[in-house]
Amino acid sequence: MSKIFDWQLVFTEIPLLLKYLPVTIQLTLIALIIGWVAGLLIAIVKIHRIPVLQQLCTLFVSVVRGTPIIVQLYLTYFGIPIFLKYYNFYNGTSYNVNGIPPIIFAIVALGLNQSAFDSETIRAAIQSVEKGQVEAAKSLGMNGLQIFFRVLLPQAVTVAIPSLGNSLIGLVKGTSLAFTCSVVEITAQGKILAGNSYRYFEVYCSLAIIYWVITIFIERLFTYIEKKMSVPEQIAEKKEA
């Protein structure tokens, strides 16, 4: 009888899974950038209470936060083709749904999901900067953009970093659902490998190890960034600016 649990396989499969790590990283990074940029825009809309847009953003955030990510992946996977069909029908165009690489669906869904969660973090972080500093900047004669990029954003980032790190970790793990959009990343590859060998448990052990290591790396990275960006506890010794 073959072994009940094949220890070796857990480790020999890791390199095979890692071949698809670039897909996981690609999914994560692009969704992250979409998430931060869209999250920032949503935050700005909410802070400035821009009519109509504000209500739309609130609705969007509420829907995204109120539905599971796997449902969102299905919605984009099936929704974008339907939307394209309508678009083609009414505009007489002939965009081909099959021409869209499946990874786009996953990136859109993950990115929008990320933006909904990050927008609240970013909004709170920006609003945590004292109004007085904005007044001081105005009084110095800075314009809106200068105030935003030189006063608000640097301080907001310091506040937001820990939460953004957490949400990034969530995103990395969320990419494991991208197989629902027929994207082959490490989890999907794991399923394929296991389908051949029927060693499901071993593959999932390998996957757990990989995700865990990635998460530890991200945690460390964000702790480092947080430390770098925050005002030092101790008074610096004669450091020249």
């Binding site: 007085g132 004669g141 800075m142 314009n143 005002v231 008074i235």
Partner: protein, 254 residues
């Protein structure tokens, strides 16, 4: 000719009139103190001049340039703010920047001065307020008095035509007040034009050359410290001075 001429400044919050057609001329090198009971629009007057509040009416002529205080033009707002600088009650230093960077910020970002030059100016200004040995300290590592001195250096570095000071010592521990007052006095003797809201009556008496008593959004009395403190001719002013124990005339003492 006056450096600053304010005409018909009005500010309301809802139906509450805070400033009621205030006219004010300030000569170059003047140190003008605004006194008055709380809620009479002292701070609002200062903040309106810097457009941190939006007045309903009023014009200001500063540096021979007339600007409508209700202007919506970003360019005019920036121009007015470039001629005026504000020192706040709560200091409002940029918390993520060192003392030196705080003073350099306006110079490099607004005035577009080269970094090396800005650094020289900033160091000189910080030296003047006695903070030359705290250049790389962050605000959280400074006491309130030190933070306020950095804030004064930050404002003076911009070489404003008019320096606005909104209760600069009100948020300080009593023992830290004098170091800031000394700094303000120094700025005054160096010829800066200052408009100051404060409750430090002895300081006002010594440093200001003109005092304005504001009540219910109107300038009720306007004169030298001698006229205001020694010969108040306005009943309301007398009452105010009695309340803050500045009038030695026993006739009014309780």
């Amino acid at each position: 000719m006056s450096v600053v001429e304010i005409r018909g400044l009005c500010k309301k919050y809802g139906s509450n009139v805070v400033l009621d057609h205030v006219d004010l001329d300030i000569e170059e090198g003047d140190v003008v103190a605004i006194i008055g009971p709380s809620g009479t629009g002292k701070s609002t007057l200062l903040r309106s001049i810097n457009l941190l509040e939006k007045p309903e009416e009023g014009t200001i002529r500063i540096n021979n340039k007339e600007i409508n205080l209700t202007t919506r033009s970003a360019k005019e707002k920036l121009e007015l703010r470039r001629y005026t600088e504000m020192v706040f009650q709560q200091f409002n230093l940029f918390k993520n920047r060192t003392a030196l960077e705080n003073v350099m910020e306006g110079l490099t970002v607004v005035k577009k001065i080269k970094k090396s030059e800005a650094k020289t100016i900033a160091e000189k200004q910080l030296e003047k307020v006695g903070m030359g040995d705290r250049l790389s300290h962050y605000p959280r590592h400074l006491s309130g008095g030190q933070q306020q001195r950095v804030a004064i250096a930050r404002a003076l570095a911009m070489e404003p035509k008019l320096l606005l000071m909104d209760e600069p010592t009100s948020a300080l521990d009593p023992e830290l007040v004098s170091e800031v007052l000394v700094t303000i006095k120094k700025a005054a003797t160096e010829g800066n034009t200052i408009l100051l809201v404060t409750h430090e009556m002895n300081f006002v008496k010594n440093v200001a050359n003109r005092i304005i008593f504001l009540e219910n959004g109107k300038i009720v009395a306007d004169g030298t410290p001698k006229q205001i403190f020694d010969n108040p001719d306005n009943e309301r002013l007398k009452e105010f001075l009695v309340k803050i124990h500045m009038l030695e005339n026993t006739e009014y003492a309780i």
